[in-house]
């Protein structure tokens, strides 16, 4: 047993972190939120070049093979930088299409997903709720209902999310692409991938919130000393680190279970989703409190991270739904 990321995986994280760190993701989020996807699309292309989307596409469709551990590594970095767009939906849809055998839709979409040429949204109402993320921007919107995979032609009016980077709408005008038990089985795997990548995103988001808040607490002075020297502040921040440190191995273990297609994968992805989602949310609440009134403003870039935490906590499996899965017989 070596339950640690290997050198290549760590280097991949560092490279992605470097790429994102120099990408002004806060500015990209603000553009995305205001309806200008240009900078987000440009960043998407760079992420594809770095291999992010290929991690969910089988090799015969010009991807790198479905690699859940590497996906978890990548999504932790994407979350750390709060990258906007249907990231989870695109990789989840890719794993769904990849499991449909030689269906034409796989050949049509997977190479484009791997190369970054297609942003794809996905709605599985039973798990993700009625909305598709960023459907107005996506090149394709897939919908899974029962044992049918559908392609949506249009989407309904935009519903604003509490996370301004998340543009929600209902898929409409759908046509059936394929139906049958293959779809149902593939969709089960796909929702697990969505839960895992959302959990990884939450983990990275929480880390960024903690880092930003620790830095602020160390430099902000009141009563003549740094507020980070007060126990009440320290202990809150210590609790956030605790939650994140114990969520991380759950995320990695869930990725290994998915990679092995283990029977425990569903339960493990649900456990990871609860722990990482709650940890990121706790990080956001602490970030807000420690930043004081400043944290409550939309001008503060960190507030973009604060608002995303709540949305990710519920996306692709609410905490209650995931806790129920953890105990499913």
């Amino acid at each position: 047993m070596r339950f640690l990321l290997d050198t290549e995986q760590r280097e991949f994280a560092t490279a992605l972190g470097g790429l994102l760190g120099s990408s002004d993701t806060a500015g990209t989020i603000r553009s995305w939120a205001s309806g200008d996807p240009g900078p987000g699309r440009a960043l998407w292309a760079r992420l594809a070049e770095a291999g992010v989307f290929g991690l969910a596409v089988p090799e015969r469709h010009e991807g790198l093979g479905v690699l859940p551990v590497e996906l978890a590594v990548a999504f932790t970095e994407l979350g750390r930088h709060a990258v906007p767009g249907p990231l989870v939906e695109t990789v989840a849809a890719a794993t769904l299409l990849g499991r449909l055998g030689d269906h034409a839709a796989a050949g049509a979409w997977l190479p484009r997903i791997a190369s970054g040429g297609a942003l794809v949204s996905l709605c599985v109402p039973a798990t993700s709720g009625p909305y598709a993320l960023d459907a107005d921007v996506a090149d394709a919107v897939f919908l899974v209902e029962g044992d049918a995979l559908r392609l949506a032609e249009k989407c309904g009016p935009l519903q604003r999310s509490s996370d301004p980077a998340r543009r929600l709408s209902r898929p409409t005008g759908t046509t059936v692409l394929v139906e049958g038990p293959t779809v149902q089985a593939a969709a089960a795997y796909t929702t697990d991938v969505a839960a895992l990548t959302t959990a990884a995103q939450a983990l990275g988001l929480g880390r960024a919130l903690l880092d930003g808040t620790v830095a602020y607490a160390a430099q902000r002075t009141q009563f003549g000393v740094a507020i980070g020297s007060f126990q009440a502040v320290k202990h809150r921040l210590a609790d956030v680190l605790l939650a994140l440190e114990f969520a991380q191995p759950l995320v990695h273990s869930a990725a290994l279970a998915l990679a092995a297609d283990a029977p425990s994968a569903r339960r493990e992805c649900a456990a990871a989703k609860v722990a990482a989602g709650e940890a990121a949310y706790a990080a956001s609440r602490t970030a807000l409190q420690v930043h004081g009134a400043l944290g409550y403003t939309e001008e503060l870039d960190l507030s973009l991270w604060i608002r995303k935490a709540r949305a990710l906590r519920d996306a692709w499996g609410t905490p209650a739904a995931c806790r129920s899965l953890v105990l499913a017989p």
Binding site: M1, R2, L4, A218, H235, P249, V326
Partner: protein, 389 residues
């Protein structure tokens, strides 16, 4: 990255499981915090030792199996899954022994470790004093140089297991003129039946004498019972505190086994419509799994040559709070039976949940309070500035 066990590790697991299945007493022993239970648990230690299961991580020459940290984790998973008795020798085998391996002489190891492994000598710890708890370095009990050894005087308190134990280990001030509180301390071992030692048991929350006060009046200790260099006791003791807070004090296997028992209790007893309770059971299961995986990470890091430092504070806060939450959930599932004491005739599961709950309540206090641990996490892991405690 993987979570795979080797063939050897799987064989080791199977061997431990088979032995435990054949030897774990079918009825629960009395609480080890009672005179009768203490002796029953001592007998159990003897049985463990007879087949080399009492100190698996020690070298073979002292009765162990030279088990790796991962093998130890495996043993503990099997041990608690088999619902085996609590370890009355824990203070010795998990706290004193690591200190002896690191700082003891070969003579001390040869003399002290084998009877400890056999359960013949049960050890108590003697750290805290009435005026020195979290601020342990302020301790005032003294060790005064004398012909061939030292004379101990003063008062120790909250000494776990001391009501029935045979010997104790702790820190004493040997150089009152030292310039800093944590200098001039010496680490010593002493018999609890030596002339000048008075043991006054203290009833814990449920009345059982789980710890004691020790009054020391000019107690002679020979030089051979000093561990490390006189005056260097703080450094010696901190190596023990590190392992105490780290993995070895409360193994993940305890919590994965308890979470499994909790899940069974929930399936048997719970109203399926009570989702609030369901969520707490799920959180206990998730927490136990997280702690287990965190342990695998630590074992992997140590195997890769890294050392675990202040991270052990994360460990201590996590398991101690998980333990309480898990037991509170069990008591809530038991409804009107949840308040029954462990020795009440009607107590569910032979009082296991009640005893476990009482035991769990001490977790955030001993081995460095969780407040101190959170200070360590904030200062050493997050790099926040030191401040007033």
């Amino acid at each position: 990255m993987d979570l795979d066990f080797t063939t050897d590790e799987n064989t080791f697991r199977a061997e431990a499981r088979a032995w435990l299945a054949a030897h774990v007493p079918s009825t629960r022993l009395h609480s080890l915090e009672t005179a009768e239970g203490f002796e029953a648990h001592r007998e159990w230690e003897r049985a463990l030792f007879a087949d080399r299961w009492s100190v698996v991580s020690w070298p073979e020459e002292y009765g162990g199996r030279g088990a790796s940290l991962l093998q130890w984790l495996i043993f503990e998973e099997e041990y608690y899954a088999a619902d085996a008795p609590g370890r009355v020798s824990q203070n010795g085998i998990n706290l004193l022994a690591p200190t002896l391996f690191e700082h003891g002489t070969p003579e001390q190891c040869a003399r002290v470790l084998p009877p400890m492994a056999r359960g013949e000598v049960i050890w108590a710890q003697a750290w805290s004093e009435p005026e020195a708890g979290s601020d342990l370095a302020r301790l005032r009990s003294t060790a005064r140089r004398t012909e061939g050894g030292w004379r101990l005087s003063g008062q120790k308190t909250w000494s776990s297991r001391a009501a029935f134990a045979d010997r104790a280990f702790g820190l004493f001030r040997s150089d009152p003129a030292a310039d800093k509180p944590h200098r001039g301390l010496t680490y010593l071992m002493f018999p609890l039946d030596a002339p000048g030692v008075t043991v006054r048991p203290i009833g814990r929350l449920d009345g059982k004498p789980a710890f004691a006060e020790l009054f020391l009046d000019d107690v002679f200790v020979p030089d051979e019972d000093v561990i490390g260099t006189p005056g260097e006791g703080w450094r010696v003791a901190m190596s023990t505190a590190g392992s105490e807070r780290g993995l070895t004090l409360r193994s993940p296997g305890r919590f994965t086994a308890a979470a499994d028992r909790l899940t069974r209790l929930w399936r048997d007893e719970a109203d399926p419509a009570d989702t609030a309770l369901r969520d707490r059971v799920a959180d206990a299961v998730i927490g136990a799994r997280a702690y287990q995986l965190f342990g695998y990470t630590s074992a992997s890091r140590i195997a890769a040559g890294e050392s675990i430092g202040a991270e052990s504070s994360l460990n201590k806060v996590f398991w101690s709070e998980l333990d309480i939450a898990l037991h509170e959930t069990a008591l809530d599932l038991l409804g009107p039976y949840g308040e029954l004491a462990d020795d009440a005739e009607d107590a569910p599961e032979d009082g296991g949940w009640a005893e476990g709950y009482t035991f769990s309540l001490a977790g955030p206090i001993y081995a460095g309070t969780n407040e101190i641990q959170r200070d360590i996490i904030a200062e050493r892991l997050l790099g926040l500035p030191k401040g007033r405690r």
